[in-house]
């Protein structure tokens, strides 16, 4: 194997959280002084160089690279999409299972599920930048990756601006700002245009169904909840405290939404909607405002969200026409 180890390239991750987490690396490093030096070289070289490329990740840590990343490992399907959107798709050397968009991503070697990565395969791909997922990846494994000297950039967009910002930051780290900034700007403008168009739209009480058994919806904090609000919808369960609340049929009957939008798995899923037709007293059923929206467009915080949002808004327009 002729490729260099990721730790050889000088790079640094400075963290405000100040993690004293090299215990895991110190034990094995006792085998070899050289490795000890390798492991510690990251923090020692912590002073940022004048020409270093730095970006703040979604853990509020500053991640600096001495030169643009050339070999990127994206550890969530969403991160893969964002890296491709940032114009750095050709630099992606490792992805996780279900990284199905853009289609080229399917040909990139997988390092297993995002909940449990195969670190050996990841290390063999010799990435010089790892894009982690704040709530999706196991923290122990990301800490191990950092201890091996590979910088980890955590992302997790929680709103529309977060998507644009993530694309811009990834483009900065990958040295592809020209393309990335443009994609980010297009997304930002597209969402702003939708917001403007629906700012004064008639409100429509909506129930969004994430899953059928157990019956799950989203609250207003969830990205999908934010899309509903953007389109002039009123999420009937928006006030619930959990991000993805589990509810029952009774709660839906009581809330009596004017429209029901269903996502779920796969691209066609009418079964979930026929379930509601046993309740003709629901306004949404009476007016036949039962819609399926392909979840792939809406479930990940990526530029495809713009297309998904347009679809959502159109469905709510349909519901308004039934009045």
């Amino acid at each position: 194997m002729t490729t260099s180890t990721p730790a050889v390239r000088p790079s640094s991750v400075s963290t405000s959280a100040g993690k004293g987490r090299f215990g895991g690396a110190l034990g094995p490093a006792a085998f070899s002084c050289a490795l000890l030096a390798l492991t510690l070289s990251g923090p020692v070289a912590g002073e940022a160089h004048a020409d270093a490329i730095c970006a703040i990740d979604d853990h509020d840590r500053e991640v600096c690279l001495d030169q643009p990343a050339e070999r990127i490992a994206a550890l969530s399907p969403g991160a893969t999409e964002l890296v491709y959107a940032a114009g750095a798709g050709e630099k992606v050397v490792a992805v996780v299972a279900f990284s199905d968009y853009p289609p080229e991503a399917r040909d990139v070697p997988s390092v297993g599920s995002h909940t449990r990565m195969d670190l050996e395969t990841l290390v063999t791909r010799t990435p010089d930048l790892v894009i982690g997922w704040v709530t999706g990846n196991p923290p122990e494994q990301l800490e191990t990756i950092e201890a091996l000297g590979v910088p980890v950039f955590y992302i997790e967009p929680r709103d529309f601006e977060g998507v644009s910002s993530a694309i811009e930051r990834l483009a900065l780290l990958a040295g592809t700002r020209e393309e990335g900034d443009q994609v980010a700007a297009e997304f930002r403008q597209g969402m702003a245009a939708l917001a403007e168009r629906y700012a004064d739209a008639e409100p429509v009480p909506v129930f969004y169904q994430v899953w059928d058994e157990p019956l799950m919806t989203v609250n207003d904090e969830h990205l999908i909840g934010k899309v509903l609000t953007l389109c002039g919808g009123i999420n009937v369960f928006g006030e619930l405290s959990r991000l993805v609340p589990r509810i029952g049929d009774e709660a839906v009957l009581e809330a009596d939404p004017e429209a029901i939008l269903a996502g779920g798995m796969g691209e066609e899923n009418r079964d979930w909607l026929t379930h509601w037709q046993q309740y003709p007293e629901l306004t949404a059923v009476r007016r036949d405002n039962l819609y399926f929206v392909p979840p792939s467009l809406i479930q990940r915080p990526t530029p495809r969200l713009l297309e998904g949002s347009r679809l959502f808004c159109e469905r709510l327009d349909d519901a308004r026409e039934q009045r």
Partner: protein, 335 residues
């Protein structure tokens, strides 16, 4: 059974202890070597040998010294701790179904760990919280079993089983209310998974320490295994010995659970397997458990991380799949 025969049974020839232990030690080394050689990244035995001599490519060094060796050692230590804890619990409770988790230890540890995960905390906090939960459970069971009346194994067992059921309900509740994105991590922890393992040295050091501390107690344990009355008649101070066993088994289990989540089955089956093969001499069974438990978990973890690589399996599944048929076979043949 007359005391004299217990005495005879408790003292087989001293020489017979060493050959089986040496064999297990060799097997353990072989298992560790195999585990370091096998992985999803293909390295030849030559590469491994080069790294061990201090040479080899930087990539091979990272793979072996930073990823495989610490994990294999953690697996060995965890398996040894669990098997020893199981052997001790079976002596203490004089019940063949006793295992390290029967007294609610893993339940308490799981609640601690899952609470930390629910709160979004990671890494060392999860381990610390699991350790705290295990000890809370130990104190709870011991305090309640002690109660106002006398302290009997069956009372301890019953208290432990009920406390464990209580923890089980809390775990189910936590899983039900936890956000979807945290569920996979929690389930892996509950099934036992060595990718949580950090430095292998604390569990290894504890394993060695307890082995040495228990060595002089082997004879007393042999007598105790035949019942407290006989033990007392033979001059054993039963109560302090039982306390020592209980606390030792708790520390062993807490450390194992803290290292790799709650891995089932090892603690129950390894001591039984060894008794079927080696006889019931605690001086031999305890160190043999440390080695055989380690071997089982090292092999199981090697399979867990390579079988369907790059996807990773939780090691607890593999220990059960490997152990159940082996144990049933031994049990069937021993009739």
């Amino acid at each position: 059974m007359p005391a004299s025969s217990a005495e005879v049974l408790a003292m087989p020839g001293r020489r017979s202890l060493w050959p089986p232990l040496a064999a297990f030690a060799l097997l353990g080394l072989a298992a560790l070597l195999l585990s370091v050689t096998l992985g999803s990244a293909s390295l030849s035995p030559g590469d491994v040998w080069a790294v061990m001599r201090g040479e080899g490519s930087p990539l091979a060094r990272t793979l072996i010294l930073e990823l495989r060796v610490p994990r294999a050692l953690s697996a060995f230590a965890t398996g040894g701790l669990l098997a020893m804890a199981g052997a001790l619990m079976q002596v203490l409770l004089r019940n063949p179904l006793a295992d390290p988790y029967v007294l609610g230890l893993s339940g308490g540890a799981s609640v601690g760990a899952l609470a930390a995960m629910l709160a979004g905390l990671g890494g060392a906090v999860i381990s610390g919280s699991a350790f705290a939960g295990a000890f809370l459970s130990t104190l709870l069971v011991f305090g309640l079993a002690h109660g106002t009346g006398s302290w009997t194994p069956s009372r301890l067992l019953l208290t432990g089983v009920v406390v464990a059921a209580g923890w089980g309900a809390v775990i189910t509740l936590m899983l039900a209310i936890s956000p979807a994105e945290r569920l996979p991590g929690m389930l892996y922890w509950l099934m036992g998974d060595l990718s949580y393992a950090r430095s292998p040295w604390p569990p290894l050091a504890l394993l060695l320490l307890i082995c040495l501390l228990l060595a002089p107690l082997g004879r007393s344990l042999n007598v105790l295994a035949r019942g407290p009355l006989q033990a007392a008649a033979l001059g054993i101070n039963v109560r302090p010995l039982e306390w020592t066993i209980y606390l030792t088994a708790s520390v062993l289990t807490a450390m194992a659970v803290t290292t790799a989540g709650s891995i089932g089955f090892v603690g129950l089956v390894v001591p039984h397997m060894l008794r079927l093969v080696l006889g019931n001499d605690q001086r031999l069974i305890l160190p043999a458990c440390a080695l055989a438990g380690g071997i089982l978990l090292v092999l199981a973890d090697t399979l867990a991380r390579t079988l369907i690589a790059p996807e990773q399996l939780p090691v607890g599944v593999i220990t059960a799949l490997l152990g159940v048929p082996t144990f049933l076979f031994l049990l069937y043949r021993s009739r």
